[in-house]
Amino acid sequence: MAEPTNRPIPKAPGFLASSLRVFDLSVSEMLWSRRTIFMALVVGAPVLISLVLRLLDALGAPVFRVNGMMMAGPAIFGLMIWVFYLRFTVPVLGVFYGTSLIADEVEDKTITYLFTRPIPKGAVLVGKYLAYLACTFFVVLPSVVIVYLCIVPMRGSLGASFLDLLKDLTLLAIGLAVYGAVFAFIGARFKRPLLVGLIFIFGWEQAALAFPGYLKKFTVAYYLQAMVPHAMPNDNVISLIQGIFRESPGLVESLIWLAVILAVFLWGAAVSVERKEYVLEQ
């Protein structure tokens, strides 16, 4: 009879290695989920609009005449960055993806499979957060570049707006990262994360920015909007009021606070996942 072999128990991977393992596992799952259809619609709309505008402009239609004034491509690009990306795409994708990082696993009752692995629970969240970043960066940023290539050359110069494009891409990436961290925390902590997240972006952030005082310092948008290289549009009453009470913190201050928000909320989310006991409904 063969003697039983004393196979040594393999060492559990570290936090980073575990996170990367979860990232590798989650990225495809996240990218090809039903949520991506929503993301494609959100991100595809500005691309489609810019293509149509380009076509109409080529046909000679006066689509860029506002109050008798012909708008230049860079100004329209700036407007699109504000309206489509900064105010809508970035926070909305942050909410939909960020809150679902853990919630989806709980809903599908698959979180047990991840938690029974010999990896830190916090690494599961961090790995999924990295997958969220990869998914959103690889979808949102190329669409911004396509909009830039379509819109800016109309009565504008690609070269002159190049630095603005770099700033836009950087701040959108920062925005996705920070909102993702905030909503990952909300997803890990609250029972109805999507609702809380939507209240946060469309309720709290909008209201806080419209009032004078220090409340706006407790929003992500306050620091993010301070870095936008384009003029803020006054396209509705809320924007107009926000424009009146708008204060812009400095670049360094904004970056520091955004980094602090990201680190604190991501850490908070990881700690919440470590400590929380998820009870799966039968």
Partner: protein, 354 residues
């Protein structure tokens, strides 16, 4: 990661790289601006023509919100002119203007020469309709230039004839009509028509001051931490001033200059000059030191205190003169006025009587 995901990410990265590459080529194709330098200063510098001799910036909002300004508001009488300006244009200088960029530039003329011209670009909240109506009421004409709306004044004064040298050589100076342009949302440009058109061209062709490495390096040096600054090429100003050769030859050999100030509770500032060589810098330092010594010789303690706050520094080709007026000193001004029982608006009259 599945193969499909890898392909998708590869495709996305390719779009990103292609777009950024195109932008980069266009960026460098427009005059090879220095990347590090171009990042400095406000983005409105892209409207300042590359050949501008002087560029200045003032953060109006910061100055208006400064403690110094708040203190002055307490003692200064109600500013009637500012109120009238607001009523006419809808622009509240206290709140609506964020910052301004100004430039002294040269506009190429038809005869091959270049005329000096000024340009002011203001970022803020403007009531476009009100400004347009006001301009039209005063005989302004609205036209379009490369997609931007221009309001031109029609009351053009006759060209002036100046005897600059005093030797009977008459210099004919053209008076260009003043124009106001809505460059972007919340951005207006004011200056001669030619200067405004040149600003629009500079932005569209990316041939702006951001492609002038010498000026952008100066701006990069002083942009941080100052709420008002000006930089310029001294040689260009001296040549534009059409000074008589006797005076021009006596001017110090300064190549560039920079003036910067930070206004908050007090005022701090620095004037810096870059000379052509070390010898010129030494000479300039000696001249400034002599003037400072002369200033200290006065019996006026206030003047002596002010002279003591000046600090001369710099090495090699650089000469720098710094000053600092702390808030404590500025606090004394209103107290002095109250103590004298006088009002600030009486000061001009008193000065006039002296």
């Amino acid at each position: 990661m599945t193969k499909k995901t890898r392909y998708f990410m590869g495709g996305s990265a390719a779009v990103l790289v292609a777009g950024l590459g195109t932008g980069l080529v266009a960026f460098y194709g427009a005059g090879f601006p220095s990347l590090s330098a171009s990042r400095s200063g406000p983005s409105e510098l892209s409207y300042v023509p590359a050949e501008s001799a002087v560029v200045a910036f003032a953060n109006v909002r910061e100055v208006m919100d400064s403690q110094l300004r708040q203190r002055l508001k307490l003692v200064l009488p109600q500013e009637q002119g500012q109120q009238e300006f607001k009523e006419h244009t809808g622009i509240d200088i206290e709140r609506d203007i964020d910052y301004i960029v100004a430039a002294a530039t040269r506009i190429p003329a038809a005869n091959g020469s270049a005329e000096p011209s000024g340009l002011v670009i203001a970022r803020g909240q403007f009531n476009t309709k009100m400004l347009e109506d006001l301009a039209v009421q005063h005989g302004g004409v609205i036209e379009e230039y490369k997609g931007k709306k221009l309001i031109k004044s029609t009351g053009v004064p006759r060209d002036a004839e100046l005897d600059a040298s005093g030797a009977g050589t008459v210099v004919r100076r053209r008076h260009e009509p003043i124009a106001l342009a809505f460059l972007e949302f919340g951005l207006v440009g004011i200056g001669s028509e030619a200067a405004i058109k040149s600003a629009i061209d500079a932005q569209l062709t990316a041939h702006s001051i951001t492609s002038n490495n010498e000026m952008m390096e100066l701006i990069a040096d002083i942009d941080m931490g100052n709420n008002a600054w000006a930089v310029g090429r001294f040689d260009a100003i001296a040549s534009q001033a059409k000074l008589p050769p006797e005076i021009a030859s006596k001017l110090p050999a300064i190549k560039t200059f920079a003036a910067m100030t930070h206004i908050d509770g007090g005022i701090t500032g620095t004037l810096r000059a870059e000379t052509r060589d070390n010898q010129s810098a030494d000479n300039l330092r000696q001249v400034v030191q002599g003037l400072m010594a002369l200033g200290r010789m006065t019996n006026d303690p206030k003047a002596t205190a002010l002279m003591n706050s000046l600090q001369l520094s710099g090495s090699g080709k650089t000469v720098a003169l710094s000053f600092a007026v702390p808030s404590e000193v500025l606090d004394m001004i209103p107290q002095q006025i109250k103590k004298d029982g006088g009002h600030l608006h009486e000061l001009p009259k008193q000065l006039h009587e002296r």
